[in-house]
Symmetry: C2
Subunit: 209 residues, 2 copies
């Protein structure tokens, strides 16, 4: 969980945007005095940097865990990584929204570091897709574009997902993993599964609902 002070800043950024938020507003929301807040963070920029670093670190650790949990199967690595991406952007939609829309407000090295983290996240998906292409599990005309489209559709969840909607984050994540598999020629209705791959007991594709 985001520490309470950063959560207060995040709430303000979501409501008013970074540039529309003042240190005074954040302090009031966090029930601190302005000097009290400055004791913890030297500036509004420091608050944004801490929020964005928290978000990217959390996402990268979860992503690495997902891939590790999947074992050696590239299809399983892909499925768990996409589920992880979708889950994160549904569960932490406000955090992800600010991390994506306020990149322009990050200054200097913080901005470079953030873009590097995002590239690393994208690279994880690229690598798995490339591996799957080499092993003949995946089939994409332009794997790099497909990979970016998949990551974008997952990060985009943060822009529309509402907890009181029809799907839980977990249901949504299963569906997105299947949609992502489709873009690689794997999944419901695709040639690869219906023609070549007989489902194996204990390793059957997860069917949602």
């Amino acid at each position: 969980m985001l520490p309470p002070l950063l959560q207060a800043a995040l709430d303000c950024f979501v409501e008013h945007g970074y540039h529309g938020t003042t240190i005074r507003t954040v302090a009031a929301r966090a029930k601190l005095s302005v000097p009290g807040l400055y004791h913890h963070y030297a500036s509004k920029q420091a608050l944004l940097v801490a929020i964005v670093q928290f978000a990217m670190k959390d996402l990268l650790i979860r992503s690495e865990d997902a891939v590790a949990e999947a074992g050696s199967s590239v299809e399983e690595q892909f499925r768990l990584l996409i589920e992880c991406l979708a889950l994160f952007h549904a569960h932490r939609s406000e955090l992800a929204f600010i991390a994506a829309s306020e990149i322009r407000s990050l200054e200097g090295e913080s901005r470079t570091a953030h873009i590097k983290s995002r590239d690393k996240q994208q690279q994880m998906v690229d690598d798995i897709i490339n591996q799957g292409m080499r092993e003949g599990n995946f089939d994409a005309e332009h794997p790099k574009d497909t990979s970016r489209a998949i990551v974008t559709m997952c990060t985009g969840i943060a822009q529309w997902y509402r907890r009181d909607g029809e799907l839980s984050p977990e249901e949504l994540a299963l569906r997105y993993a299947n949609i992502a598999r489709m873009t690689l020629g794997v999944g419901p209705g695709s040639r690869r599964e219906s023609v070549f791959t007989a489902p194996i007991v204990g390793d059957a594709p997860i069917v949602v609902n």
Copy 2:
């Protein structure tokens, strides 16, 4: 094209966010006095509303044109509509970025109207996918989720696309239409095309590069 005054406001919103922009900054960028600007637009909110309305109207007209141009084939309607969505978000990335990220800054009825326009855009894609499902051209486990994922991956282009990158908007749009087709079990490597559909001369799938 966006009228020059709205373009000046858009540039400011992209740089500083809506809440971080003042009427004075917009006036300076537009080379107008503050009273001169107020002569055209009553408030900063009126500028945002005009920008967002321009964006959505432009996108909806282009989308309707794309579907009309496609004729009666649901696959062709889908392909041209997705190309149109991708093209718009690549060509007009800044406009689309503000229309997506500053919904929170729209007030009252303008906000409702904007969300209605976005829903209408989504509904166009939903309708074509549903039609294709009925006709047996498309194959999706959860068509509504697939439709949203497709629209999201296209609107997301506005967040990363750079004109000085590898692909022209047109090349990108062709690739995105193919990726979108894959999610519906149609396209390179999918069962439907490789097993059922023999390419017809004059109606062959467009191959990119």
